[in-house]
């Protein structure tokens, strides 16, 4: 086994595991933190005010799924917290991946936290928007989520570096089975 910089596919798989776990945690927390964030959404979206911009079927669907949908960003943030604390979230840990410095050396804590803050900007901005009751911060959170998702696609490139890796000078390394020796 050799330790190499890992590419887009396995990182996407790790992300899918994280999202799945985030959904499980969001379901489990739907009656506690989920309900609290759903109630804060009434303030954030000015629901009930004559001047609310929040009309149409989307608020109705979110209302039905509110305890889950409004609590999901916070739940996913909790699931991804180990990336900042230990250098690997659950998805990366299961697939043998690890956040390192750009050259493959162990990433320092400030580097890991910077990377996590950039990668999860939409996830921590949305709970912040609900706490503050600010639809403007929520709009920033949605825009930031779009940018970070697009930034993740950058990891398709030959250097396998997502936007948050480039900005924090980090990379994702993992073990790969060594190629068999060439036939004589």
């Amino acid at each position: 086994m050799t330790i190499v910089r890992r590419g887009f596919s396995i990182r996407l798989a790790a992300g899918a595991i994280d999202v799945f776990l985030g959904a499980v945690v969001a379901l489990l927390l739907s009656e506690t933190t989920g309900r609290w964030f759903a109630e804060r959404s009434i303030v954030m979206l000015r629901i009930g005010s004559p001047d609310t911009f929040w009309h149409g079927p989307v608020p109705m669907i979110l209302g039905i799924l509110g305890h889950f949908a409004h609590g999901a960003p916070f739940a996913l943030l909790l699931v991804l917290l180990p990336e900042a604390l230990f250098g690997a979230g659950p998805g990366k840990w299961l697939l043998g991946l690890h956040v390192t410095s750009g050259d493959g050396a162990p990433a320092a804590a400030p580097q890991r936290w910077l990377r996590w803050s950039i990668k999860c900007v939409g996830l921590w901005c949305m709970p912040l928007a609900l706490i503050l009751g600010s639809s403007a911060v929520a709009a920033v959170a949605l825009a930031a989520t779009a940018v970070t998702l697009a930034g993740f696609l950058v990891a398709i490139g030959p250097r396998s570096l997502a936007l948050h890796d480039r900005l924090a000078d980090t990379a994702v390394f993992g073990a790969r089975r060594a190629a068999p020796p060439a036939a004589p």
Binding site: T32, G34, I42, G48, P59, V79, L81, K92
Partner: protein, 198 residues
């Protein structure tokens, strides 16, 4: 590279354990202390008494109108008079009434209520904690049939959704509690309405 750390796995197991404990312990519904308090004080449902004014909006066919309720709670009895603007559906502003009873069972305080509006329909529902749910029927001439509704009651707002399975209609309702001054004004309107009815 150093040996793979077990801390992420320990963290996730801990997170799932805490989340499961919160989910299955009923913390989100009501704490044991609160349940005891509710048992001892069956009048501690959300404070519904007052004037609630807002709107209804069918988000499928994009029509809506005003909605208002004047709710009175005396002891374990609730009564209300209200109006709903159905001009968008061609039958103008309609008036309705509601009646309910607060009861206490198995540590939960519940308000069971019925409502009716002549020429529109009727229904029933219940309020447990801050959650409202129920169903009813919209009679001819609108004749939309069976509908269900759910809502959440806050200190100053009620927000809910309704669905008409037979016609696939659906929408939202929002009500805001009015200030004491506005309530007094509404009281005058209500008194005049009663005078005119007699």
């Amino acid at each position: 590279m150093s040996k793979r750390s077990k801390w992420p796995a320990i963290y996730v197991i801990g997170l799932l354990a805490v989340a499961s404990a919160l989910a299955f312990s009923g913390v989100g519904e009501r704490t044991e202390v609160e349940r005891d308090a509710w048992t001892a004080r069956p009048d501690t449902l959300p404070d519904l008494a007052g004037i609630w004014i807002g709107t209804w909006e069918d988000t499928i066919v994009q029509v809506g109108g005003d909605l208002s309720w004047n709710i009175t709670v005396e002891g374990s009895d609730m009564s209300a008079v209200g109006t709903i603007d159905l001009s968008a559906l061609g039958i103008g502003i309609q008036q309705g009434t509601a009646e309910g009873t607060i009861s206490d069972s198995r540590g939960r305080t519940t308000l069971d209520f019925t409502f009716t509006a002549s020429g529109v329909g009727d229904g029933s529902g219940s309020i447990v904690g801050s959650s409202v749910s129920g169903d009813g029927t919209v009679a001819p001439p609108l004749d939309f049939g069976h509908f269900t509704f759910q809502a959440t009651v806050g200190d100053t707002s009620i927000w809910g959704t309704f669905n008409f399975p037979p016609t696939r209609g659906a929408g939202t309702t929002r009500l805001t509690r009015q200030s004491a001054v506005e309530a007094e004004t509404w009281g005058g309107v209500k008194a005049r309405y009663r005078d005119e009815s007699e």
